[in-house]
Subunit: 446 residues, 2 copies
């Protein structure tokens, strides 16, 4: 029997609705886990257990507002909350309490979610100071970043759901390193008001959970729908593209194995698995994303540069001073390459039931002074494509290696349908309910 | 002799630097004008004269931080300020005081600007309730919107500089209606953090002033530079494109006359003036912009829809409910059309020293229940092109009709060089220093 802090939101929701458990029960289970684990894992930049219990009791007294009512949610500490500090992992924002919620927080709160606390982040989710968070599977390794605490908190059973952000690979990659489900929806599908800006073109609110069903819940909460209801994806006969991507030379053993393993299991489940090679021009999207975040970051950090120069990490001063000596001609070229490639990828993606691609170069690297390399994420973020990390596989050191699924813009719900199918053969937690089960039964019957 | 409230920032700055006048003197002159005029013009959503005087005295005691030190600036009331309410012209935000500055405000404050007060706006700069502001040239007419107070405040000599925003035509068009200089820089050139989000693709911070030199000051403050320093634009021999735009059938008598008059004066000053016709595909950019703001607005107003449904104007409920029944396929098509047209326009624009085009259909319409039609603005906003309104001409009712200049992305400073040249033959205030002057002298000498 799972303890309450181990349950997913989808598992907790009917129990809360039936009154079998209270919000306070769930909150206490999460707080107990946090008390046990956080001194070493360091997920939380800020959490106040008394405030959490108080808020939980209030929710227990309030008429239910929907399936998220009473579900604890952690919020990356560069997203504003009216009742908790938002410190951005920057000395400039030490002790800073904004007095309004970011839109993505207000939306969940309006539906009864219990905002549990703030999760540690890379400074401004952009550079400079790393989070203190450790990888819950190996405390000597990074959980990835910038959404470090949000990924680790879900993976380590502190909280069922968290919000992160992605500008390069800040949601998908930590999901892979920590073994959590992660989703970066289509760009602008979730209002990013009240989250620190780094790159207008790339910044996207990201989601963490321990199941595809929970990502569906969050998409419901944010009104994310496709033009048509998603087709159910059955692996038997499904067309699956394996996209090694133009950056495959950066893949390590863990990702080589994981992608091969995923392809093998999908084929064993009856899918038609084939290599998907992108047009050569797509190789420019990684460098283009770097140009865009550098030049947009130049504008985004100007105010802090001008007013709090001495407390701003030198990485941000370098952005504002354009020490890379990039030009606006470079920036226009980067924008226009992305503009050309977006519809091309949409068209390619519509030819597949699912596209799998690396979520990260491999297992989480050693050390807390790195967040790992977003080389397998930059391109998809710039394409504005929805992306999902499906966990379940492990690398040579026994650590999680996620598989990334990508889809066409505004095909978020279809992508989740594909993720559910892929998860059925990757996630050990689903083995009992695996899509492979009917086949296994069929074999037994034969 | 101009009174202090009539002077531009560029005129005030050396006086402040020399100590000839104090920030308090300038503030008192502005406050006196406001006391006289604002009961009818209704520029200000919030202003506290005591607070202004206090802040002005503090600035007078502070070492000068640059050319904006002591210059009063009005801020559109959907841009956050830590020391004043930000009420968004929405009952939901009545009395709401955010406790942090928007980045665009913080940047000016860090350079010593005196934030004077908040200017009235269309609800959320997006729809619903109109500003109470009247056109200072005719109180029975709209000043345009959504940056209603920001345009009227500068034009009516309440304040030399204001901040606005533009998603459709919310900066350029009110500039035209009120007879102010207005600039919408290249998209994302100014950080829009802390301004209400409507459309991620279109929202841009806008600038108002009473001279091109003042727009230069603001661009300096925001670190807006081109790849190369701008070439000075001499009208003699300059190649000027007259772009009636695909929406010319919406132009009224005032705009017909103004564009013809501008072309005539430019030709008289020695410019080679020629018609510029855009590729047919550009005609789709107006409708595409409407699709984008509708579908991005659907995400942007979801949180208010969920938590303050009863106080949210029905226009926003309509957005969130997608009552227009737009599809994401429509949205993708709109994005991709913009993506194709942006580099095409940049290339076209680089062939001209200046491109002039209507800023609005004509003079400000009668009544305060309209903001006028952004039909001549939507396309340029979606192209992410920098745009400037140059005032000086009038229409059949004697009211201002601006001329819009547009340029390639990140050619903001070159565009201002062109605007200065065009202004020299349009703005009566510049007739003494007109570029036509050397020609006049030459004729006299001949």
């Amino acid at each position: 029997m799972k303890s309450l802090n181990e349950m997913t939101a989808s598992e907790l929701s009917p129990l809360l609705a039936a009154g079998t458990v209270s919000t306070e029960d769930v909150a206490r289970a999460c707080l107990a886990r946090i008390a046990e684990r956080d001194p070493t894992v360091r997920v939380w930049a800020w959490i106040d257990p008394d405030q959490v219990i108080h808020a939980a009791r209030e929710l227990d007294k309030t008429p239910r507002k929907g399936p998220l009512h009473g579900i604890p949610v952690g919020v990356k500490d560069m997203i504003d909350t009216f009742d908790m500090p938002t410190q951005q992992n920057s000395p400039i924002y030490a002790g800073h309490w904004p007095n309004q919620d970011a839109a993505c927080v207000a939306t969940l709160r309006a539906q009864g979610a219990l905002i549990l606390g703030k999760t540690d982040t890379l400074e401004f989710a952009a550079g400079g100071r790393k989070a203190l968070t450790r990888n819950p599977h190996d405390l000597t390794r990074t959980p990835g970043g910038s959404s470090s605490g949000s990924a680790a908190g879900v993976a380590d059973f502190h909280v069922p759901l968290t919000l992160g952000t992605q500008t390069g690979g800040s949601t998908i990659r930590p999901g892979s390193f920590c073994g959590a489900y992660a989703m970066k929806p289509t760009w602008a599908a979730i209002n990013r008001e009240g989250a620190k800006i780094y790159s207008m073109t790339c910044d996207t609110i990201g989601l963490y959970s321990r199941s595809v069903a929970d990502l569906e819940l969050l998409c419901d909460a944010y009104g994310i729908v496709d033009d048509a209801p998603p087709r159910p994806v059955r692996l038997e006969g499904a067309r699956i593209g394996v996209c090694r991507s133009p950056f495959w030379d950066k893949a390590e053993e863990g990702t080589h194995q994981a992608l091969a393993q995923a392809a093998k299991r999908l084929a064993a489940a009856g899918a038609k698995v084939e290599d998907l090679e992108l047009p050569a021009e797509f190789g420019g999207l990684g460098p283009a994303q770097l140009t865009i975040i550098a030049m947009e970051g130049k504008a985004a950090f100007l105010d802090l540069y001008r007013r709090r120069h001495e407390l701003l990490h030198d990485e941000f001063r370098a952005l504002v001073e354009n020490r890379k000596k990039l030009s606006y001609a470079d920036l226009r070229a980067a924008y226009d390459l992305a503009g050309r490639c977006r519809p091309v990828f949409d068209e390619i993606a519509r030819g597949y039931d699912a596209i799998i691609t690396p979520a990260a170069p491999g297992e989480a690297p050693l050390g807390l002074n790195t967040n790992g390399d977003p080389v397998f994420n930059r391109m998809w973020t710039l394409l504005h494509a929805p992306c999902v990390t499906v966990p379940g596989l492990t690398g040579p050191a026994g650590l999680p290696v996620g598989i990334q699924l990508v889809g066409p813009r505004f095909g978020d719900r279809q992508l989740l349908a594909a993720a559910a199918a892929v998860a059925s053969v990757l996630d050990p937690a689903l083995s009992a309910a695996s899509a492979a089960k009917p086949r296994a039964r069929a074999r037994k019957a034969a």
